[in-house]
Symmetry: C2
Amino acid sequence: MLCCGLVPVTAAASREPVDLVYPYLDSANSRWFFFSSAARPFGMVSLFPDTDIEGEWGSGYRYHSKQIKGFNHIHEWQLAGLSVMPLSSTQKLEQLKTDYYSDFSHNGERVQPGFHQLKLDRYQIEVALTATSRVGFHQYTYAANQPQQVLFQLGGVMGPSRLGHAHANLQGDDAVVGYITNQGTERRTKPVKVYFYARFNQKVKQLDAWRGNMLFHNVSGVDGDDAGVVVTLTGSSQPTLLKVGISYVSVDNARLNADTELPHWDFAKVQQEARQEWNNALSRIAISGGTEQQQRRFYTDLWHSLQGRRAVSDVNGQYTDLSGTEAVIRQLPLDAAGKPKFNHHNSDSFWGAQWTIATLWPLAYPQIAADMGNSLLQYAKDGGFIPRGPSGGQDTLVMTGAPTTPFLVSNYQKGLYKNQQYFDIQAAYQAMKHNHSIEGVMARAGYEHYSSTGGGMQYYLQQGYIPYPLPETESNYGSHRRGSGQTLEYAFQDHALAQLATALGKVEDAKLYSKRAQNYRNQFDSQTGYMRPRTIDGSWQTPFDPHEYENGFVEANPAQATWFVPHDIKGLAELMGGKDKLITRLDQDFKTAQKQGFTSGTAHAQETHEEYRRSPINYGNQPSMQTAFIFSAAGAPWLTQYWSRQIVDTVYSHLSPDRGYNGDEDQGLMGSLSVLMKIGLFQLSGGVEADPVYQLGSPLFDEVRIQLDPAFYPGKEFKIKTLNNGKNRPYISEIRLNGKTLQRSFLYHSEIINGGELVLKMSDQPNKNRTQ
Amino acid sequence: MLCCGLVPVTAAASREPVDLVYPYLDSANSRWFFFSSAARPFGMVSLFPDTDIEGEWGSGYRYHSKQIKGFNHIHEWQLAGLSVMPLSSTQKLEQLKTDYYSDFSHNGERVQPGFHQLKLDRYQIEVALTATSRVGFHQYTYAANQPQQVLFQLGGVMGPSRLGHAHANLQGDDAVVGYITNQGTERRTKPVKVYFYARFNQKVKQLDAWRGNMLFHNVSGVDGDDAGVVVTLTGSSQPTLLKVGISYVSVDNARLNADTELPHWDFAKVQQEARQEWNNALSRIAISGGTEQQQRRFYTDLWHSLQGRRAVSDVNGQYTDLSGTEAVIRQLPLDAAGKPKFNHHNSDSFWGAQWTIATLWPLAYPQIAADMGNSLLQYAKDGGFIPRGPSGGQDTLVMTGAPTTPFLVSNYQKGLYKNQQYFDIQAAYQAMKHNHSIEGVMARAGYEHYSSTGGGMQYYLQQGYIPYPLPETESNYGSHRRGSGQTLEYAFQDHALAQLATALGKVEDAKLYSKRAQNYRNQFDSQTGYMRPRTIDGSWQTPFDPHEYENGFVEANPAQATWFVPHDIKGLAELMGGKDKLITRLDQDFKTAQKQGFTSGTAHAQETHEEYRRSPINYGNQPSMQTAFIFSAAGAPWLTQYWSRQIVDTVYSHLSPDRGYNGDEDQGLMGSLSVLMKIGLFQLSGGVEADPVYQLGSPLFDEVRIQLDPAFYPGKEFKIKTLNNGKNRPYISEIRLNGKTLQRSFLYHSEIINGGELVLKMSDQPNKNRTQ
């Protein structure tokens, strides 16, 4: 479905990848950080209009909301930034400070990667937005003979948290500088300041301000809680330009960011550069074939895979470390030219990332994957451990386990740190070991900031599984305390760590973690055939409902979670009575799940729906992401081909504000998953083994060309060609790699990075002769 | 009246000054920082039980309140510290966190300078408190076989402000460390953190915590808004001791303060040392004669003169500068032994201090006066100007004008900076000039943080007076925007600055400020005979009610304010038609005011009472403090003697929790005033002239011996002896200084500091022959 006010498109062939992105996708269901427009890949700023500002969920830019409530510069995991709003108002400040939202419509609105344009109906102001990495760039065209004003909202609830103490003051006659404070939340407990340097291309005539109910007219600035500022400009018949440099460190750095990245006032130039940067990134994977909608959805997915996890360090490499009780300004290492060797990042959890960004990034964006690893190690240097999901310089401890382990091990196995002097694999290994210990993040449940019991690590180490429930007296706080699911997760992560131990020649460690990686077996009940909660005395949960959501498993039901043994399908098959039984059963699960479209409803909010959540498979969240590729590992790659194509067609094919990911995209996870399934490459065990394998799926397009980064890989391009592809032709009848027929349905990493061509003959009939 | 649970007193003669202090005085009317018990002179900690915790006013220890709500370590201008509460509770945390207050009674309670003891009835816990300068020392005697717990309240409203983000965690097995944040207020706009290091003499068994509605059992700590902690101790049959080091800089400094000042666990030793330190300070002025109640009230006043304006720097001289947008840790200069040369201080305003601490401190406590001056200069070095009332490292801009000028000039004229290498009088002079400029604090009204208009300085400079009201468009924010009163105040402060200019040989400046010092004349309306508000066009306010409170004057009515020309009584007399007319009129004002006891009610809360506030004189607040001594300067010293004795007997003679200062004591101001009037020395113009004079009043006692500080003054002691003194004998018939008869009713500073003896023959009849 094409809809909703985009500029009419010409034939896809004549357009570049960036033109194919449909930013409205799923935006009727946005959470705070989901949508994006005026932003750069992994930049600090993600500037766009907010229609809803209260809460982590149901906020940000929501397609069907009617009002714009401000333009916020940061939409990140647990963080908001500065919200500004252009106005033309003659209202008194007393009223204005709570009554300034404007209606808008999608008529005439333009949204592209790096750009957003719309009209504020109430004020008849045309707004255009673009951005550099750390600077939001605004263009306001005020109606003739109207007051030219901009409101800076420094207080109230802004996305994930309430704003606390703020400061703003005039600097010179054309700039407003200051900071806002994101108050602590349950997740990100410590306050985070975001500094800004907002400079106009015309002079400020007057600054009025408020704090709570107090009003201040014609003052130099304001500070305090629940404060705000209205700047009245002298007025100009030319469009007003506003550049807003952002920093987590200081006003000076916010200004430095602005002066460095945006030393001029040429809006069109920045708009074009933003477009070009996105296009370059998206062009790393070229496609041909498929329908226009499939192509557009593909590049929208790829664009989403590069969203979130934004920079927190400044152009000079300074960043704020909040791992201790006080904010400390630190410095990233600089290269010979004095530039930071990498950027430091916020990040939502890597939970499930082994099947998404941890495969896609090293493949198409190895620099991003490597940098993110450096950033995680920087956190470990500062805070003593690799975080689960750092926000504003502190770990939020989001979700469970040590999900960064597979990501880092995968990076290492793919050779990303070969030429990186900064990334010390020995130090990283020690940090991962710590994470997997009774003192590490594995010992903590979700958001368990003040104790180390909710992770159930003591039981995992002593009994080989984590009881569900844990004794209340031992563990009374932390989210996602679902011991059975934690056992499965830890076992997989231990497998990943064992692979690194092997690679580093740490034989004893490798044995230890390999043994722990088998702990999933302790969770399998052969009588019911499910992974099943066990109580502390070792007995199975009774009565047991395998379709009860979160019954011992994290954001999953036992039926879904039963498939979570990505590193040992052979072992799982044994437990289930053989590969054939496993295959038959999984096939049946897919057939059952198909009845409700493979997801628990069409949005994350429906995942806990009484009925929907009983599905044996849910492609709307991380726990089921790997299921279609289990067939391949179990000897039935044709079923992987069939079901993965079914999933793509059913779950990841829409192009509408109302439906997109049918669940929670998180930060690039579902986007990456969709991309991987559509190019037909997947890594069931997250690519953590030496020269890791990619299971082949069922590519959607006639041709996929992955540009290999010459800084990391010897090959130039890896091409995947499909012959006789089509809607009902998901099966691969023949595989040729660089001209040679392959008898296996998987590739090695080394085969891809050397460059080459994979040719797949597609068919409407399965080829059951190829069982691996 | 003696009352209220003090240990029965023996004859005053057998007791030391510290035993005579009655800390309950006026405590039924306490504001947050008024009461004191476990504290040292100008120490950082002022630890005492809080019966009321919400607000700046009506809070702290209030005599008639029935419940203890915690023991807070800081009670300062706009600041609270850590509040702790010992408990023995079996309640669940969910209830306990809001239901832990305990009833108490004054039976068995003991309150002394440096010590407080009471029983928490609800828990049957005996609590004893004492303190070093920066450490609160607690002793809890729990009932047998009861849980031994301590609650740390980190959130909610605490005195002047709401508490914001806080942190607490276990350190080792016997300490809890962290911080609370005083959120910004209208007055102190930026948040101020107070760090603590709380160590027990027994082990912590368990720490439970909450944040908002979330509960955390058996955790390592907590952080966030509205948080708190309950520590359960292992339990001991011995009294539990708790020392709480405080710092505005860091947890490490809080610990350093504790380890340095209190390296042992001997409670009785610290109690005794605190007692001794207070006794030493109080003994600087020895008295004999008078009734026991007069003596007790006198030392209570003297004790109050040493309250407030507490240290903000640590034992190592570090302090937090909050003059900019960010907190910056700075270092005070150290002496050869590595000790700070002085302490840095909080301070309520010096508004009116020219008649109180600015006279008393240089006389009896020159080191304190000198140090406070150094601290003010330190603020100017950091923030660019001498503050009016710094709190937690930032100026609150409390009240109006530049009231630190007379204080600093008085210090200088009294020679306090002769041997002080640190205090650079030239730099101080430049800072004072800046304060008196259109860019300085004089240009700002009370709490006018964001503009420089409410001070009316542009009008003062151009028109020689400040209009009332100021045009709303020019000045729309700031308290105390009472132009007429500001004119009078600035004129006096300009006089003070002119004296310093003269002393420093700055002839042109001296002329300029002397001329400005005459601006009070522009406020005098010869038709009505009052200082009278003038509008911006120069016309007099019409209709005009000279008894309408705050009608153009700050915390005063025009009738009271008319007497505010402390530096030029001769000029005022001319305006009034001669000295005789002035005297007659002022005498009549006293007679009128006498009908309601010389104050506007018996507490600050009554000052705005419709009827009371119409009094021509109000000895319950700063604006009238000087009035009794105007007679002396106008040629009728006998009326000064008469009325000052009347004031003392009527306003400053009570010894009860219900009546004390009949208004707002502020921070040592009313206490100092009372002391000065009772020893019979006063400085009408604040001692700002070269070798400044002290007007003689009517000493209450047979003998007053002021110990002169050998580090500053050549003499050892200045003795004031009265002969034939008595209740109806306020008049001085004869004055002999060092055996020689004096024909004047005033002394020079040089006469006092050289030491000597003043003998006053008292009489029931005025000696009208001595007219100066």
